[in-house]
């Protein structure tokens, strides 16, 4: 074997004497360098992302509890999930949240970006004001909105003082109104973030296109529809993906507004809240929680791929 390998090595080495080999040589010598740069991040990723993920996959097929390793139970956790009405409730709420939050988070920040695009007196102040909710802590935002919406809060107090209502509107104690209130908070908090993304893209739309459309007689609305919107399409898809994924994993808004109860009767529970509830504590059902986490991961990934496929399909059809 060794006798046959030696000539092969020589044969393989022969073309490497050309200019291409000279170009590759320094790369080969420098090969460990990028890996060394990557090492800290890679180690962190392996330790804090990939290993926990793999452990979650394994746990999903066990009946492990917080303090007990558990044993292999096959697909029992998934069968239980199918029979768990709270899982279906969480799935419904997640889907409704995506439907309720994604359209306003795609459209409203674009309108805001158009409003604050042009430089002018005080525009910096408006940009800052619109962005402020983004940097505010989600918990603080949730608490502020709780004071605004509870039965003796700002909205109910004002409406009652004006005589518009006799009994408070149950923003935080009605299944549907609580969900809607949480959506409002999510949209309000997300507007500034997506506005900044739109602003960056808006500045890259060639001015010549607007001028050409104007010469052709297009008004402001027409120019928005035929010039701005098409230029924004990729960004809109990106924002719809980002907002859909985070909407499906909503936790803080409902958690705070419902005072950690998922609404009256737990009817506003989401998947992340359910995972937390079953897995936490000294006797948490870690195995079932891991199975729920896997399903959430699969659904989020599916959502992401579906939107990206939609984007690819549209590109292909052009």
């Amino acid at each position: 074997m060794a006798g046959t390998l030696a000539p092969r090595r020589r044969t393989a080495a022969r073309p490497a004497r050309g200019p291409a080999a000279r170009r590759r040589a320094p790369r080969m010598q420098a090969a460990p360098t990028p890996w060394l740069f990557l090492l800290p991040a890679l180690a962190a990723c392996l330790l804090f992302s990939l290993y926990p993920f793999a452990n979650t996959v394994l746990l999903a097929f066990t009946d492990a509890r917080t303090l007990e390793p558990g044993s292999f139970t096959g697909t029992d956790n998934f069968t239980r999930m199918a029979e768990d009405h709270r899982f279906w409730l969480a799935l419904r709420n997640g889907a409704l949240y995506v439907l309720g939050v994604v359209p306003p988070l795609v459209l409203l920040p674009l309108l805001l970006a158009l409003l604050v695009r042009d430089r002018g007196p005080g525009i910096g102040l408006f940009r800052t004001l619109f962005y402020t909710p983004v940097i505010a802590s989600a918990v603080v935002v949730g608490l502020i909105w709780t004071w605004v919406l509870d039965s003796r809060g700002l909205v109910n107090g004002t409406l009652q003082a004006l005589g518009a209502i006799t009994r408070p509107i149950p923003f935080l104690t009605d299944e549907w109104l609580l969900l809607a209130s949480a959506m409002v908070v999510t949209v309000w908090k997300g507007l500034g973030y997506y506005m900044v993304i739109y602003l960056a893209t808006l500045n890259r739309v060639p001015q010549e296109l607007h001028e050409a459309a104007q010469v052709d007689g297009a008004g402001a609305v027409r120019r928005f529809l035929v010039v701005t919107l098409p230029a924004m399409r990729t960004t809109m898809i990106l924002i719809s993906v980002l907002s859909a994924v985070s909407a499906f994993r909503v936790f803080t808004e409902i958690f705070i507004l419902s005072n950690d109860t998922a609404g009256p009767g737990g009817r506003d529970i989401t998947l992340v809240m359910l995972i937390r509830e079953v897995s936490s504590g000294l006797d948490g059902q870690v195995g079932y929680g891991a199975a729920l986490s896997l399903v959430l991961f699969g659904l989020t990934l599916g959502l992401l791929l579906a939107v990206l496929r939609l984007q690819t399909g549209r590109r292909g059809s052009r």
Partner: protein, 433 residues
């Protein structure tokens, strides 16, 4: 090229999975370390003592206590750590999973059960025979775990009622503030009257009933063997039905469906509620944070149909994995001993669980102050108090019960159906445990 990338990615994923499975699922102790025989010897080791949200207010007290122990036991060293109130159970579970439960740790009875089952805390009747004699029998028994032999934590401080009510709101509703409700029926009737008189503006109650309320109303929470929950009996159904009537009439605040003890306390302090259960500790809170309310606050006894008020209890457990069992048990007995508990009760409105301590004049003689009156009334109540919260009733079960009762109170389910569903689900969870 694409296939190559996918192959490499798959190989990496498989490698990661294999590595993970090779490492195993390191989840907790999973084995009993509790049975280790009698603990004796000199208390001269180094230990860690963990408390639950006590450092902010009582740092001086505990530093002095530790100094005293170290002086009495030459060579001993105690490192004190304090954890915030929020997420305490999660912190303990992380410690237990990593087999690093602090040597001496502050626990509540429901936190002890999973720790005891996992063998993470010492069984005391075997480790320290005779230790029970120093404590009130009911308090000692509160740390006996169903289905297991022995006791798994030293009783520490106790607390109980009273109930506070807003005299001004009572007057505004035409109720006699000098004659507050003394039975559940009177409370519910007066709550309906208050709602009617004020057009739903003032609510008497801020919370739906929980497991302790059902117990005090007369429900038999578990069967005699302690193997099944039974809180879907007639008294429980009746209580939930009364709450449903009160909710419809506006005698409960709308937030009652999702509100906990803290929220109720805050609403009472803001004057939105007329009636709130509390503890002797709350009175100081009213004086500092709601002086207007403090002027109008009425104090009365906890309502109970069983003749026994509820007793809240804290305990101190010793880690089964401690390397210094003699020092750890000696320190736990020092902290929970009569002298230290009585001294702590003078720092804050709590009550000692040690035998004979409640006979001290400090707990039996009214000194004329509001605090003294509350203290004496609560101490008297403790003599016949019981801990209604079953140690097997974990947080997930509490949430299930809260949700089902909310549905019943709101009218989405009948009280009977809601309680049947809650009991079925809680028993399922009990069976899975």
């Amino acid at each position: 090229m694409r296939i190559g990338t996918i192959t490499r990615a798959s190989a990496l994923a498989v490698a990661v999975l294999l590595t993970a499975s090779g490492c195993g699922i390191s989840m907790g102790t999973g084995g009993g370390q509790g049975g280790g025989g009698e603990v004796s010897g000199a208390a001269d080791g180094s230990i860690t003592f963990q408390t639950w949200n006590l450092k902010t207010e009582y740092a001086d007290f505990f530093e002095e206590l530790i100094d005293e122990f170290e002086k009495e036991n030459p060579g001993s060293q105690v490192r004190w750590v304090d954890q915030p109130a929020e997420g305490y159970a999660d912190k303990l579970s992380a410690d237990a999973a990593a087999e690093s439960v602090p040597d001496v740790v502050n626990v509540a009875p429901d936190l002890v059960h999973p720790l005891a089952r996992a063998g993470a805390v010492l069984e005391l009747e075997e480790a320290r025979p005779g230790a029970a004699e120093a404590y009130l029998p009911d308090a000692w028994e509160s740390f006996a775990m169903p289905g297991m032999d022995g006791v798994y934590a030293y009783p520490w401080y106790l607390n109980t009622g009273p109930v506070f009510y807003n005299r001004e709101l009572f007057e505004q509703a035409g109720l006699d503030p000098d004659d507050p409700p003394s039975t559940f029926d009177e409370l519910f009737d007066q709550a309906l009257r208050m709602a009617e008189e004020t057009g739903g503006e003032t609510a008497m109650l801020g919370q739906t009933p929980g497991i302790i309320d059902l117990g005090m109303y007369g429900s038999q929470l578990m069967n005699g063997e302690g193997t099944e929950f039974t809180f879907n009996d007639a008294p429980a159904v009746e209580m939930v039905q009364r709450y449903r009537e009160m909710y419809e009439a506006g005698a409960l605040v709308p937030e009652a469906l999702t509100q906990d003890y803290t929220g109720t306390g805050e609403q009472f302090m803001s004057g939105a509620l007329a009636w709130a259960p509390g503890s002797a500790y709350d009175l100081e809170n009213f004086r500092t944070n709601a002086p207007g309310l403090y002027e109008n606050v009425g104090i009365t006894e906890v309502l109970t149909n069983t003749g026994k008020a509820n007793m809240y209890l804290q305990g101190v457990a010793v880690s089964a994995a401690t390397e210094e069992p003699a020092t750890a048990t000696a320190f736990a007995e020092f902290v929970t001993g009569a002298a230290q508990q009585e001294a702590f009760a003078r720092e804050v409105q709590i009550f000692p669980s040690t035998a004979g301590s409640l006979e001290d004049p400090y707990f039996t003689e009214d000194d004329g102050t509001d605090e003294g009156r509350v203290r004496v009334a609560a101490a008297a109540q403790l003599e016949s108090a019981a801990s209604y919260n079953p140690v097997l009733f974990n947080d997930q079960m509490k949430n299930l019960l809260r949700d089902e009762i909310a549905l019943a109170v709101k009218g989405d389910k009948s009280p009977r159906q809601a309680l049947d569903d809650a009991v079925d689900r809680c028993n399922e969870l009990l069976g899975e445990g």
